[in-house]
């Protein structure tokens, strides 16, 4: 049986928030009986876009992570609901029953991803329904996917085999896998949000003038001589090693260029780091 999966490419998300707004459009002032009561107009929605800046001026990048219900196979919210207030459909969608769940505030705190919202007015825990009311009418996609202009959000009905194939092909990952909830929402290029980089710029002096040094060889090592990465500086003399774990300890950056004395620096990596301009 094919089940629904939301696939999110971090590299294609530009924080336009059309997903957040389309979700509001579909659910605010609209009741979808059996699926969801109306969403609140103001405040936190059922999908939000988290942002992350990496690095320091002038060497930075920015990534965004749309976060919504993970529709987990091993969902803590289902465990927390004693009387079937939350249930998982055969197609994978996790639904909070809008009638049964009235007053069950504990469901909100059961979610380790923090994507269940308490609707004070309706006395109801609420979250993303993956627009099940639309999928059941062959709409074919969720509203957030429909309004996403960049292709960052995709909805796919996949068999187990297809899912495994896609995971390998596109390097899909689970966000915060240590929570062990088996999400059906998967991310591509997740490192842009979860991992960090070491960047730097290499310069030299030619005829008394500072010049960017292109093509310098930069090697990143850890724990003595274990090579983590090798790269060459670009036309601006810049280099960047990405996909490093935050707080992952001491690294050594070695910079070499033919005919010049090389340099070696140590970096104690906490979060994304720009080591500045290195002169050879």
């Amino acid at each position: 049986m094919k089940r629904w999966h939301l696939i999110i490419d971090i590299e294609k998300c530009e924080n336009c928030n059309n997903c957040f707004l389309a979700c509001k459009d579909e659910h605010v002032d609209n009741e979808w009986p059996g699926y969801a009561a109306p969403q609140k107009g103001e405040g936190k929605g059922w999908i939000e876009v988290l942002g992350k800046e990496r690095g320091v001026y002038p060497f930075i990048d920015v990534a965004y992570l749309p976060l919504t219900c993970m529709h987990c196979d091993d969902a803590p919210c289902i465990k927390a609901s004693k009387n079937g207030e939350v249930y998982k459909r055969p197609d994978g969608i996790v639904i909070i029953d809008p009638r049964k769940a009235k007053g069950k505030k504990e469901i909100v705190s059961s979610c380790p991803y923090g994507v269940i919202v308490w609707n004070e007015g309706l006395n109801l825990p609420q979250k993303c329904t993956l627009c099940a009311h639309l999928l059941d009418e062959n709409w074919g996609k969720t509203r957030c996917v429909q309004s996403c202009p960049t292709g960052a959000l995709r909805l796919a009905a996949l068999s187990e085999d297809e899912l495994e194939g896609l995971k390998t092909l596109e390097g899909l990952e689970v966000y915060r896998p240590h929570l062990n909830t088996k999400p059906m929402v998967l991310y591509k290029n997740l490192y842009r949000f979860t991992h960090c980089f070491i960047g730097g710029s290499v310069a030299t002096i030619i005829d008394g003038k500072e010049e960017c040094l292109e093509g310098a060889r930069v090697t990143l090592t850890k724990d003595g001589d274990k090579i983590i990465g090798e790269t060459k500086t670009d036309c601006f003399g810049d280099f960047k090693f990405d996909r490093l774990e935050e707080d992952s300890g001491l690294y050594t950056v070695k910079i070499e260029s033919p005919g010049k004395e090389g340099k070696t620096l140590q970096v104690d990596l906490k979060k994304s780091t720009y080591i500045g301009v290195i002169y050879l």
Binding site: D29, Y57, D61, S147, P149, G151, K209, C212, V277
Partner: protein, 1001 residues
């Protein structure tokens, strides 16, 4: 049938007989319609009157008695009908009356006084409306999608949409996904790959949020009067912006406004009424601010508020002198550039260019996928912007952050590297440009002793010299596109104290690299798609139903395609928009026009008051955006409270901004509550063919999706109601409804060749098929680079502006790109603010203005907002306010955001989401601080265009916590001989704000 009848009716006698039959048939049709349609019957019951239709000589006629919704009629002439329609003769009558409707015949008959309409305005208008309704009853529009839901279409500044309506309420708004019958998009083959955009439209955030704006609690639902305003007694103008409002009836409101129009004209003379709108309005060719509004005001005579070229400033006042392009406000044309860029280009330099923030303009995210293709192809990207903008964030590449308003120094330093290292196209410069040697001498320092080296640049823009050299060498060696502005010539760096010189240098740099050669051109994939350039559909700047040939682009196409009565403003007086407060408070000011017909259009200085005209006394404002969008806007708050303004009326959808400073407020409805017709991203006028930003041209029937909320009315209807009181309703409406105007405009386009009105009305949209590859528009400037006649499909420049043969060369006097500008040599060669060739002129507010810089050491930039479009989308309790990069909710209040570098924040003890006061001598704004690395130390970033103005004390004199950053920006023009905005040269200080320091809400 019409032709056949006219052919058969050879004698006057036969014609009269046919006329008599038509008159009899009219009674039958009226009654039949009333029987079949309760709505019509209900309307018909509104009046019990006698209407006469006859020939002027009384030789033939019939009169109709309408009683309780039933029409009876009698052949002959009535002695005292309530309404009479008179025709010169039977020929004219049949031309006008026989279907299909012939607007040209009707207009010709009206202009020649061959038709007469007699009776009170109220009754004649009603009767004409009944005749329209009779023909439109039972029309079908929209698509039934089941379960009582109907899918309509509409269009917005951020893209066209499907609108799902149930029980008279909008439940859903989505982008348009085309069906299998719609044509496939184009395909570009480049570098061994095929690129095709998706078969759908994209929408901007401020479009996705429309439902919350339509049903906003801030909607004005009834006409209102300021509680302490008495038109016949004490007006209490000092209380504007302070006092509350009370609901009044439409009759009372319209009577007050109509009486005030008459009074100020009577007491002061023509031109004492000033009117202005925001730069934008809700989308629609007929409903935009250049349509019904102009038609109305031209009928009463008015002093227009002259717009500055607001988003183009430096291109208009500066760059234009180098290459013409006047009809694009000095920005370049862009045909064929998407295909050329995909095939040939090796690097794109985005310089003050953030198309991902603004969607170019009106084009939602249509350009995004095209830039994604560039990234997939590995084309190098460089971003020059003091803010790490959204385009840089999405696509990556080198980021260079010059100090604001110093970009020209960086440009000159690049030119220096090219000159000294031989990295420019000498042959092109020799053949296609004028005056290079003089500029070269300036660059090398032969003129002023200062070589414009990358090191010299470091003291101005602050970019490391080595990076400037690296960029210049890449650029000099690679085929490079320069994206200057979000779409070419649009946006931030041209809106600062050195904006002219920056834009000028952009042209000079491209001239050195061979503008127009393969892979060397302007743009960042935002414009220049291979859509059909020749299918005609008007943009909003073509004036819609305005009939204003002088002040819109109507004359180019629309006026002759859609016969309608012309309208003329007889008042030769105008007020520059940025000087309105001075005009009111001081009684005089000067300006320079935005007249893009020709380069010299901008030189014609004008004065207010104009000779023989009174100062303005009445302000009829359309919307309420100026606190957020003009400069040094506390001036506007002070202006509103001046005794010199005797009466202020605001016609607005939402209760926000300036609407709260009016004496009378007229509630307008949104475009979802009225009929209109338009095309995706087609504005026409200054950005002719602006639809070449979209991937699929889509013409849209803007259905009246729901009834107007409350007692709100469309702008057209409000104006028509006033027109009735001022005696020109029939001239204003031409006796037809808004839906009929849509049909009339439909008939004026190329649509009827491909789709019937009925089908268009039902389906709601038409996708214009892309032309075959061999028929695509040529690449802009290619013909110029190759010395050929102009071959791109536009009529700019106008024939007289070519120096040699028409279509040969550019618009400049030499026909070449001019490093030394002939037009400036002629106009004012000694103007130190605008020299004949571009030079580095330090900003008049910046790091060289030592005293001010010492007091206010942070430079604020306020580009166009991302999630809102001018004031649309912001405030109004729209969902946009909950986007964390738009506003931040602190203690129950949604604050505007100012972005500050971590070092500057730390030095001031400011943490993320702290409330801060951003201030200078011009005022103060309370914001939420966002501590970020996306701006360098010394620069702070926010957006312009807050919809909310919420002073915590006296309006115009106290800090605003609504977020109108333009309170802080200078009102000084870029140069004195211009009417321009320099908002991005703005020194401020930022300090922590304690919320208990000011009032609450």
């Amino acid at each position: 049938m019409k032709g056949a009848i006219k052919f058969l009716a050879k004698t006057e006698a036969v014609k009269k007989k046919i006329f008599a039959i038509v008159l009899y048939a009219l009674q039958l049709k009226l009654n039949k319609t009333a029987r079949e349609h309760d709505d019509f019957k209900k309307r018909l019951k509104e009046k019990d009157i006698v209407v006469q239709i006859k020939l002027k000589d009384n030789s033939c006629g019939r009169y109709y008695s309408i009683r309780d919704g039933v029409v009876s009629s009698k052949k002959g002439i009535h002695e005292k009908p309530d309404v009479a329609i008179l025709f010169e003769n039977a020929v004219v009558a049949l031309d006008v009356l026989l279907p299909p409707r012939d607007y040209l015949a009707t207009i010709n008959a009206m202009k020649s006084f061959q038709i007469g309409l007699e009776g009170p305005e109220e009754l004649t208008s009603w009767w004409m409306e009944m005749l329209c309704l009779m023909l439109n009853m039972g029309i079908e529009y929209g698509v039934d999608v089941g379960r009582g839901v109907k899918r309509y279409t509409s269009n917005t500044n951020g893209g066209p949409v499907f609108v799902y309506v149930k029980d008279g309420k909008i439940i859903r708004i989505t982008p348009i996904e085309f069906d299998e019958k719609d044509p496939d998009p184009w395909t570009i083959t480049a570098r061994g790959r095929k690129f095709t955009p998706p078969k759908k439209t994209t929408i901007a955030p401020y479009t996705q949020v429309f439902k919350s704006m339509i049903y906003s609690p801030d909607r004005i639902l009834y006409p209102m009067k300021r509680v302490d305003f008495d038109p016949n007694g004490e007006r209490n103008v000092k209380n504007r912006g302070i006092s509350g409002y009370e609901r009044i009836s439409w009759d009372e409101a319209l009577d007050i406004v109509a009486n005030e129009i008459k009074r100020v004209k009577r007491e002061y003379g023509p031109g004492a009424i000033v009117n202005g709108s925001g730069s934008h309005h809700l989308w629609g060719v007929l409903g935009y601010w250049l349509s019904a509004r102009l038609r109305f005001f031209n009928h009463i005579g008015w002093t227009p508020i002259a717009h500055n070229p607001d988003s183009w400033e430096g291109w208009y006042w500066g760059a234009m002198h180098h290459w013409g392009q006047s009809m694009h406000l000095g920005a370049p044309e862009s045909y064929g550039t998407v295909e050329d860029c995909l095939k040939e280009c090796e690097m794109v330099v985005f310089w003050s260019s953030d198309p991902e923030a603004t969607g170019g303009v009106y084009a939602a995210f249509e350009g995004t996928i095209r830039r994604q293709w560039l990234k997939e192809l590995g084309v190098q990207m460089v971003h020059i912007d003091p803010y790490y903008n959204h385009t840089a964030a999405l696509f990556g590449g080198k980021w260079l952050a010059p100090r604001p308003a110093t970009g020209n120094s960086l440009a000159l330093a690049i030119a220096y590297v090219w000159i000294t290292e031989g990295l420019y196209d000498k042959e092109y410069v020799e053949k296609n440009t004028h005056g290079f040697e003089a500029w070269k001498d300036y660059i090398l320092g032969k003129e002023d002793g200062i070589p414009k080296t990358p090191e010299w640049q470091e003291g101005e823009a602050g970019i490391p010299a080595r990076e400037v050299r690296a960029l210049a060498r890449q650029w000099g060696r690679k085929k490079t596109y320069l994206a200057a502005g979000g779409l070419s010539g649009f946006g931030s760096a041209c809106r600062d104290a050195t904006g002219n010189e920056w834009a000028r240098s952009m042209v000079c740099l491209m001239a050195m690299q061979g503008l127009g050669k393969p892979g060397v051109n302007m743009g960042g994939m935002q414009q220049g798609t291979p859509v059909d350039m020749n299918f005609y559909f008007p943009g909003y700047a073509e004036g819609g139903l305005s009939g204003d040939i002088a002040n819109t682009a109507s004359a180019v196409n629309l006026y002759v395609r859609m016969p309608h009565l012309p309208t003329v403003n007889t008042v030769y007086q105008m007020i520059p928009r940025l000087r309105l407060p001075e005009a009111i408070l001081e009684g005089h000011t000067i300006g320079y026009p935005t007249d893009p017909k020709t380069i010299e259009g901008q030189f014609r200085k004008f004065e207010y008051p104009a000779p023989g005209y009174p100062k303005v006394r009445m302000y009829y404002k359309y919307g309420g955006s100026h606190f957020g969008t003009m400069c040094e806007t506390n001036r506007y708050a002070r202006m509103y409270r001046s005794e010199n303004l005797e009466f202020v009326v605001n016609q607005s959808i939402w209760f926000e901004g300036e609407a709260k400073f009016a004496d009378i407020i007229l509630p307008a409805c949104t475009s979802f509550e009225r009929w209109d017709i338009s095309e995706f991203a087609n504005c026409g006028g200054y950005i002719q063919h602006s639809f070449n930003q979209v991937n699929n041209r889509v013409c849209i029937m803007q259905h009246k999706c729901i009834e107007p909320l409350g007692e709100s009315k469309s702008d057209f209807q409000i104006f028509n109601e006033l027109a009735k009181r001022l005696g020109f309703s029939i001239m204003f409406s031409e006796g037809i409804t808004e839906l009929d105007w849509c049909k009339r405009l439909f008939d004026a386009t190329d649509l009827p060749k491909f789709i019937t009105w009925e089908e268009f009305l039902k389906k709601g949209y038409y996708v214009v098929p892309p032309p075959p590859e061999s028929m695509r528009a040529p690449v802009s400037f290619r013909c110029f680079a190759e010395g050929r006649h102009k071959d791109t499909p536009e009529i700019a420049p106008l024939p007289a502006d070519y120096t040699e043969e028409v279509f040969k060369g550019l618009q400049t006097q030499t026909g070449k790109i001019e490093f030394v500008c002939s037009s400036l040599v002629r106009f004012d060669p000694d103007d130190p603010e605008r020299p004949v060739m571009t030079k580095y002129i330090p900003a008049w507010e910046g790091h060289h203005t030592k005293e001010l810089y010492g007091k206010y050491p942070l430079q604020l930039i306020t580009p166009h907002a991302r999630y809102s479009f001018h004031t649309m989308g912001d405030g109004k309790r729209s969902w946009v306010n909950d986007i964390p990069e738009h506003r931040v909710l602190i203690n129950g209040y949604y604050y505007w955001i100012v972005r500050i570098n971590s070092k500057d924040a730390a030095a001031r003890g400011i943490k993320n989401n702290d409330l801060v006061k951003v201030f200078n001598d011009r005022g103060a704004v309370i914001c939420a601080a966002k501590v970020t690395e996306r701006v360098p130390p010394g620069t702070v970033h926010s957006y312009e265009s807050s919809a909310i103005y919420d002073p915590i004390g006296e309006p115009g004199e106290s800090p605003d916590r609504g977020g109108c950053m333009n309170i802080l920006t200078p009102s000084r023009p870029i140069i004195k001989k211009s009417h321009s905005i320099a908002a991005n040269s703005c020194l401020v200080e930022v300090e922590k704000w304690n919320e208990t320091d000011g009032g609450g809400r």
